[in-house]
């Protein structure tokens, strides 16, 4: 209705991990009930999202206020959706414990989750996006693939809006007449003011992957179901990953990787001036600047933490050298 006097419930944006984790523009609501958003490069205004993927990490922390949980779902774009369950969400704790038991027994499975956008700004200005879980469940493949198709469509819609916006002035009338759907206009204006030029093609990769999975139902899904093996891959294997990057087109980085990714991470963490440790996003940024892909960097961080035990994560998202 035109005369809506209350802020209604925010719709759940269908979004792939790649687009969401690339975003670094928060829009904070003013007032007690005003919603906050993460604006992506394609102009999605994310307050609530529906996302899915295979469970990749899941752990519990016990704090003064009760347990909290954090984890990651890896989706078809290869990126991960980070999520948290807070101590003040006791209604989710029973399900989280059940999930933890299954995860720790070595089981991996597909999940769907509805979450609210959260972010964290590091001292050096890096912005970390994640979600606070609202509802989640373990799903059969069919349901996940259905989400892939929906999210592909939503991403195509944003890609098309983005390309429509290219020749247009950055105001609502001009964008509307260029064909940008009304729900994307506000986010598009903010995104175009904030982000520099980028190649939107990298977002098409997730779309193609999602759609091809839906078409040949027994195909490539196993490849994302197998990240634990990737972590234990020897270092030599990891070095060939920049070619995967070229294939995925992710981050559009044309730089030749300089040196070994582990060295980049270790020196970045060692040189961090932050007492709590180096924020995750800053490490990834350092790796990307050195020419490594985001996926490769993320895997290498986990490898250094879990396998080689050269770095530790005393606080979620912050890394220190293990001396």
């Amino acid at each position: 209705m035109i005369n809506q006097t209350r802020v209604g419930r925010q719709s759940a944006i269908r979004i792939f991990a790649h687009e969401y984790s690339d975003a670094n523009l928060p829009l904070e609501g003013v007032g007690e009930y005003a919603p906050s958003f993460i604006i992506t490069k394609l102009g999605a205004k994310v307050n609530r999202a529906l996302f899915g993927g295979v469970i990749d990490r899941f752990e519990r922390r016990d704090g003064d206020n009760g347990p909290s949980y954090s984890g990651q779902l890896r989706d078809a774009t290869g990126g991960t959706h980070r999520f948290q369950i807070a101590p003040f969400q006791p209604e989710l704790h029973a399900d989280a414990e059940e999930l933890l038991a299954r995860f720790e027994s070595g089981d991996r499975f597909l999940m769907m989750m509805v979450g609210r956008a959260r972010w964290f700004e590091s001292d050096d200005g890096g912005l970390f996006t994640s979600f606070r879980a609202e509802e989640f469940c373990i799903v059969e493949r069919e349901v996940y693939v259905n989400w892939l198709v929906e999210t592909s469509e939503a991403t195509l819609r944003r890609l098309s809006a983005y390309s429509a916006s290219l020749g247009s002035d950055n105001n609502s009338e001009a964008l509307a007449s260029a064909g940008v759907p009304s729900d994307l206009i506000e986010g598009m204006i903010l995104a175009k003011d904030h982000y520099g030029d980028f190649d939107p093609e990298s977002y098409r990769v997730g779309v193609l992957q999602g759609l091809s999975m839906a078409l040949n139902s027994n195909g490539t899904i196993e490849s994302i179901m197998a990240p634990p093996e990737q972590i234990s891959q020897p270092e030599g294997e990891l070095d060939i990953s920049p070619s995967i990057e070229a294939e995925n087109g992710s981050n559009g980085s044309k730089l030749e990787p300089q040196g070994n990714v582990d060295d980049v991470i270790l020196s970045a963490v060692r040189n961090s001036s932050n007492i709590d440790g180096m924020p995750y996003d800053s490490i990834v940024l350092a790796c990307i600047e050195a020419g490594f892909s985001r996926e490769l960097s993320e895997d290498a961080i986990e490898d250094l933490r879990d396998i080689k035990c050269q770095i530790i994560e005393p606080r979620f998202g912050f890394f220190q050298i293990l001396d």
Partner: protein
């Protein structure tokens, strides 16, 4: 009555401040103020207090330093006094209506409307006041926005307080609202445009219906003669109500200046008073009465609360009559039934003798819409408004299969409708799904075995499910009553109850979540749309059976994707 008794209330106020004052002296003072200075006792309180304070040698500073230019910051209107100036408060703007007013011999654009305090809380915790904008702040006072007002003052008139937003006041937007209300312009607008806003408009339109009517004054002091009718142009039609006689006829093209658009329920209506001007206008290119009446036929899907003078055609699904006794003790018959057209279904109520059979087609004219249980229903008052058609205007609709499919986005942005079908993904399972207890008197849901109206009750068990469905752009809550819930769960209410008693309510919710969250469903039912948003009452919920492969192919086709 002695002076003391007459002024007891005011005397008590004075005594609070001046404990040593003699009550009779104080009362005498109030009498003097009233009789000699013609000042009402309530208005005299301040002066009397001052006088007695001075008399007793008390410090009078606190009173004489009346708040003049000191900023007063409040959260609620209730904290404001009638003379407060330079007030700072955060409010929600409800309406903003510009108008031209003569101020000291000069035409000035001012505006009035409603604002509500406590803007970050729900509506029922707010207080609503009128405001006047003397400072042309229309850009910053868009309806639905939340703003901080600084330097505004309180105005009291006939015991009613309101806020004056002055030229020097500052308005800061805290949360954006809808589009700003445009300043007045002399240009006529289309009816479609005029219907979108409230306030003063100029129109160029043809009168397509006109009849005199009578309004009974609320205070019982008599009646008022008015005129009702309909304007139309090529963009649509709109009802009007005129408080002044109309010297034009049906078919006349008129230019309307300075009329006022007001919402009657959900339907905008043009109000014409003695300030508005109606002039006959000549334009041979303007659509003719015949063309306009053709275009003004309504479909069930377009009905909105408050609409009048509706021309429509419906197919009858069922028909009943009921006898009742009205408040005057007269026995009356009301007839009603379910009717359909290709865009949906609704109820038709007739306060006249018509007895159609199921399957008949009725052509209605001059019908009106009444809201019943949240959905717009048609009403006819006179049998000459109804004609039974012999030629079917469409192939007979099968009522069992008649669900009009609508995109969720279209559904939540239009009016309430029956007989709709829509799709969406379940993104929330409400924790009050499951077995509930209703009040045996009024069917309201009991909270801790207590009904709001009927107190502690032995509740009647019922089953319901509550979800939220979402398509990525819009969302709506859906409610399933017992029957559709049982069908979806493939469990009877008894089975659900047993299940919950064997484990727990949380386990039941977890199971629902595992089976339905993130699943795409199809819903048959009805939608209720009001200012709070949309809600869907589901009559049937089933999983969307479109295969992923088909869905993917459709997406690739629509967006031109090649793998």
């Amino acid at each position: 009555m002695t002076d003391y008794e007459k002024y007891a209330a005011q005397v008590a106020l004075v005594k609070e401040e001046c404990k040593d004052a003699d009550e009779n002296d104080v009362a005498e003072e109030f009498r003097r103020y009233e009789e000699e200075f013609l000042i009402e006792p309530n208005d005299a309180v301040r002066s009397v207090i001052l006088k007695f304070m001075k008399a007793s040698g008390q410090e009078v500073k606190s009173i004489s330093s009346t708040p003049t230019r000191v900023e007063k910051k409040v959260d609620r209107f209730a904290d404001l006094g009638s003379e407060d100036k330079n007030v700072t408060i955060e409010v929600a703007v409800v309406t903003y209506v510009p108008r031209i007013q003569m101020v000291r011999g000069e035409e000035k654009q001012i505006a009035f409307g409603w604002i509500e305090d406590n803007p970050w809380e729900s509506n029922d915790k707010r207080e609503r006041w009128d405001f006047k904008d003397w400072g042309s702040h229309s850009e910053n006072l868009a309806p639905n926005s939340v703003v901080r007002l600084e330097g505004v003052s309180v105005n009291e008139w006939n015991d009613k307080r309101s806020i004056n937003i002055n030229r020097g006041s500052r308005v800061t937007i805290l949360r954006e609202g809808g589009p700003a209300v445009p300043a007045l312009s002399d240009e006529p607008v289309t009816i479609e445009k005029a219907s979108e806003k409230e306030g003063y408009v100029n129109l160029l339109a043809r009168i397509i219906s006109l009849k005199p009517d009578v309004i009974v004054k609320k205070d019982g002091s008599g009646t008022l003669d008015i005129f009702r009718g309909t304007f139309a142009d090529s963009s649509g039609k709109i009802s009007f109500l005129s408080w002044v006689p109309i010297d034009h006829e049906v078919g006349d093209l008129v230019k309307v200046e300075g009329a006022m658009i007001r919402k009657f329920r959900e339907t905008p209506e043009v109000n014409i008073n003695d300030r508005a001007k109606l002039e006959k206008f000549h334009d041979n290119n303007f659509a003719s009465t015949e063309e306009l009446s053709q275009a003004t036929t309504s479909k069930i899907g377009e009905l909105r609360n408050g609409m009048k003078d509706i021309i429509t055609t419906v197919q009858v699904e069922s028909w009943q009559s009921r006898t009742f006794t009205n408040s005057d003790g007269e026995e009356k018959i009301v007839r009603s039934g379910d009717v359909m057209d290709p865009t949906g279904r609704c109820r038709l109520t007739a306060w006249c003798e018509i007895d159609p059979k199921p399957g008949d087609f009725l052509h209605l004219s001059g019908a009106r819409v009444q809201f019943w249980q949240g959905s717009p229903d048609l009403v006819v008052d006179n049998s000459d408004q109804v004609s039974n058609l012999t030629d079917a205007p469409w192939e007979a609709i099968d009522p069992e299969q008649h669900w009009v499919e609508l995109e969720l986005s279209d559904l939540v942005t239009s009016g309430s409708r029956r007989g709709i079908k829509t799709r969406g993904t379940i993104v929330a399972i409400r924790s009050d799904s499951g077995i509930i207890h209703r009040c045996p008197e009024c069917r309201r849901i009991l909270r801790e075995s207590t009904c709001v109206d009927h107190g502690v009750q032995q509740g009647v068990e019922d089953l319901r499910l509550k979800f939220v469905i979402d398509n990525g752009v819009h969302n709506a809550p859906i409610i399933l009553a017992k029957e559709p819930s049982e069908k979806l769960l493939s469990m009877s209410q008894e089975m659900v109850k047993e299940k919950i008693s064997k484990s727990s309510h949380e386990d039941f919710l977890a199971e629902i979540r595992n089976n339905y969250l993130a699943r795409k469903v199809m819903i048959n039912g009805r939608s209720l749309v009001d200012v709070q948003g949309a809600m869907i009452l589901a009559e049937e919920v089933t999983f969307d059976t479109t295969s992923n492969e088909d869905a993917a192919n459709l997406v690739m086709q629509e967006w031109g994707v090649l793998l």
